[in-house]
């Protein structure tokens, strides 16, 4: 039931090497190199802050947390989710030349993209946390909880990548659909706005989105000193979601592999 995940774990050295090579490839030929992994998201954070605080004048403090810090914290989590999701769903399709010509355990490819995104994420996270210390002039033990939420995000993204990658490999239309869904999710996940602004069944619906669990967890850790054990029901829901996506991902890979190998 978890064959491909066992393979990813067994080949973790390979996955790590490939993720590093992916990084090399991405920034090969640029002068700034990996720094671009930092510059781009920082600029985007600045743009969102400008739009909401200066332009739309809606960027108020959230439950006592300064808006710019609150925004940056959520976006750091989101950028990881966004990159990993976007890359891992294409992990088979974008490597078709390799898949068609090299004997290779291709099931690990989604993990390579998630890990690659995670490494880029670590650079950004470290930078933001350092800035945060100076800006908030405080630090708490709850910040360590970020490690848990990174792990949770990592597992979720492996699961989702394993589900989507074989489907995208079989159908390009599906890839286009997910691209649209990602934009939709960006605005529907309370990243740029607080979930407390809405109420009732709508709030419940928004919380069903597992990405919200991650983004909210980041903010709880940094600003609100809330532990994930304080909402055990939501945590349980999240992990059930991950479990189901793992099972589905494994099934889809087995089912689709012969099809997409022939199709591509």
């Amino acid at each position: 039931m978890f064959d491909i995940y066992k393979l990813m774990w067994g080949k973790r050295n390979l996955v790590h090497t490939l993720a590093l090579q992916e990084m090399k490839k991405e920034y090969a030929g640029t002068l700034l190199g990996v720094l671009w992994g930092l510059v781009n998201p920082l600029l985007r954070i600045a743009v969102y802050w400008f739009v909401f605080s200066i332009g739309a004048k809606v960027g108020k403090n959230v439950d006592g947390a300064p808006f710019i810090a609150w925004l940056a914290c959520g976006l750091v989590a989101w950028f990881f989710i966004n990159d990993a999701f976007r890359l891992s769903k294409n992990s088979f399709r974008s490597k078709r030349g390799l898949i068609k010509n090299t004997p290779f355990p291709i099931a690990v490819l989604p993990a390579v993209n998630v890990l690659y995104s995670y490494y880029i994420h670590l650079i950004l996270l470290a930078t933001i946390l350092v800035v945060m210390v100076f800006y908030l002039k405080t630090i708490s033990v709850y910040w360590l909880q970020i490690l848990y939420f990174d792990f949770a995000a990592f597992m979720l993204l492996i699961g989702i990548g394993s589900v989507t990658a074989p489907l995208v490999a079989v159908s390009k239309d599906f890839g286009k659909l997910i691209d649209t869904v990602l934009v939709f999710l960006f605005w529907m996940t309370p990243i740029l706005w607080s979930v407390d602004n809405i109420e009732g069944p709508l709030k419940f619906l928004v919380q069903l989105n597992p990405f919200h669990y991650i983004v909210q967890g980041y903010r709880d850790s940094i600003f609100f000193s809330t532990g994930f054990w304080e909402y055990p029901g939501y945590t349980l829901y999240f992990w059930v979601f991950v479990f189901v996506s793992f099972v589905l991902g494994n099934y889809l890979y087995k089912r689709m592999k012969p099809i997409f190998l022939d199709l591509m």
Binding site: N13, L14, T17, L18, Q21, K24, K25, A28, G29, G97, L98, I99, K100, N101, T102, P103, F104, K257, P258, L261, D262
Partner: protein, 538 residues
């Protein structure tokens, strides 16, 4: 014998849809909307350890699919694959990233092939040296020429030292020196007892490099065995000399000629042959034919074979070829022997009968009207027929007269005097080049001084008075096509030899070479090859 790679009953089907919505429609409508394409049809092969094995086949024959199945890139629809040892698919382009430098790509490809960084560290110097890239190794691959790229790819693949190396037409790249280097490296590989699977459509490469070979055609394994033999079958098919039907038949049957005899039975000459032809499945073919073929004109003559009934030696036959009955077919030339049958379309399908072990019961040479000679050449029996005497012949004039073509020339045999018209007898044959139907026209011999008086032709002062021949060809008897002209010259007294030759006509300026119309057909005389041909067209 140790096996490096074993594939069993591999079947690979691809689904072909007519439109891009096909797969979706098929699921929604639960209808069968695809055609199946059988890329491999029940292929079983064992690749023994320590040998280089060629896989031959033309483009699209399924040989690359087989490779992909062996390497695990593609899964077979059914069947099993077993690989013993590490395996590298030598593919010069994949796994090379153009943005990275050559040096980084070595590690990149190494990783993909399943080697750790430390393992690659120990190989990297060899790889750089082999690739001949020198200082370019630190440049991004996108700046490389295509030759340099493939050198890098090849260098990485062969230097990672796998147990089994699979090579897919990769040697077509690089300059000849580098190609030689690749060949040497692969030979070194062979000497180390490693296995090489070499896929190609070039039978020469396979023959020179591989000890064994398999031939795949349209997804079917045609034959697997010694590379020389397999590639000769492959070549004879690819060059159009044999049809697939003939080759399959030749492969499926056990066949051999056992005895051959030239027999002179009261002046009537025949060839007596015995041998066998059968396969392990009984009685697939009822009527076998024995076929004699003229090697030059490809004219065939077939004889129904009487194979002995069951219970006796399997498929054994004896046959007598009555040479005396068909002087024109068995005229000077070279002949091969085949066995075959008529297929469903009524077409003769035949193959050369193996005759390396044939026993010549009689002397293999005999002088009769002609000189006959049987011999073994390349494991096949051939018969050569020679004229015993040399006919001196030339056409002096060719012209048209009403419905007739007149051919006027001289013919004589040195030493055979012709003081009167009774000494010789002759005939002109026009043989259609495709149907081999022939028309014969009488030749009359007339008196001439041309030869007798000519010192250089006749230094001994013999009498060749009747050496002028005239033949009158009735053009209305000819149908469309090209005819080859043959002349028969028969002596009416001792030694009673017969000579059959193609008509020699080299005095171009004496011939009427204009197109000639007769009964809405046009006649054209052709003597380009110095032999006389007549082309009849509508």
């Amino acid at each position: 014998m140790e096996i490096a790679v074993s594939v069993k009953n591999i079947i690979k089907k691809y689904k072909l849809y007519e439109d891009k919505w096909g797969p979706v429609k098929e699921i929604l409508l639960k209808k069968n909307l695809h055609k199946e394409f059988l890329a491999l049809n029940n292929v079983s092969l064992d690749f023994p350890k320590g040998e280089s094995i060629g896989v031959l086949g033309k483009n699209g024959s399924g040989k690359s699919t087989l490779l992909k199945i062996i390497t695990g890139i593609t899964d077979p629809t059914s069947g099993s694959v077993e690989v013993n040892g590490s395996l590298v698919f030598l593919d010069v382009s994949s796994g090379i990233d153009p943005e990275l430098s050559g040096y980084e790509n070595i590690f990149m490809k190494g990783t993909l092939l399943g080697y750790t960084k430390e393992e690659m560290m120990s190989k990297v110097d060899d790889i750089i040296e082999f690739s001949e890239l020198g200082e370019f190794i630190n440049q991004p691959v996108k700046n490389y020429s295509s030759g340099m790229r493939s050198k890098l790819g090849f260098a990485i693949s062969v230097n990672v030292d796998p147990d089994i190396l699979i090579v897919d037409e990769a040697l077509a790249v690089g300059d000849s020196m580098f190609r030689q280097k690749c060949m040497d490296k692969m030979n070194e590989f062979k000497d180390l007892g490693k296995t090489i699977i070499f896929v190609s459509h070039d039978h020469n490469a396979v023959e020179s490099f591989c000890s064994k070979a398999a031939w795949i055609h349209e997804g079917n394994l045609i034959t697997y065995g010694e590379s020389k033999q397999v590639s000769s079958y492959y070549h004879s098919f690819m060059s159009g000399r044999k049809t697939m039907e003939e080759i399959k038949m030749e492969l499926n049957y056990h066949h051999s000629l056992e005895t051959a005899e030239l027999k002179n039975n009261a002046g009537q000459l025949s060839i007596e042959l015995s041998g066998y032809v059968y396969n392990d499945e009984e009685n697939q073919i009822k009527d076998w034919y024995f076929v004699t073929q003229n090697a030059r004109t490809k004219e065939k003559k077939k004889y129904l074979l009487n194979r002995m009934a069951d219970g006796q030696v399997k498929g054994k036959f004896t046959i007598s070829l009555p040479i005396f009955e068909d002087l024109l077919f068995y005229s000077p030339g070279q002949f091969t022997f085949e066995v075959g049958h008529l297929n469903n379309d009524g077409k003769l399908v035949s193959f050369p009968i193996w005759s390396e072990n044939v026993d010549f019961i009689s002397e293999p040479e005999i002088n009769h009207q002609f000189k006959y000679e049987l011999l073994n050449y390349n494991q096949s029996l051939i018969m050569k027929i020679f004229n015993i005497d040399k006919l001196e012949e030339q056409v002096n004039r060719i012209y048209f007269e009403g419905n007739y073509l007149m051919i006027d020339g001289v013919a004589f045999v040195r030493g055979y005097e012709t003081p009167s018209g009774n000494e010789v007898d002759g005939e002109l044959y026009l043989v259609h080049k495709e149907t081999f139907e022939y028309k014969n026209f009488p030749i009359t011999f007339k008196a001439t001084e041309e030869i007798t008086e000519n010192q250089s032709f006749n230094p001994l002062g013999k009498n060749y008075t009747y050496s002028r021949f005239i033949s009158k060809v009735d053009l209305s008897e000819l149908s469309e096509g090209e005819y080859e002209c043959k002349i028969r010259y028969s002596m009416n007294r001792d030694p009673l030899h017969v000579i059959i030759n193609q008509v020699w006509a080299s005095k171009n300026d004496q011939y009427d070479l204009n197109e000639y119309q007769v009964n809405d057909k046009s006649i054209q005389i052709v003597t380009k090859s110095k032999h006389l041909y007549i082309i009849v067209s509508a």
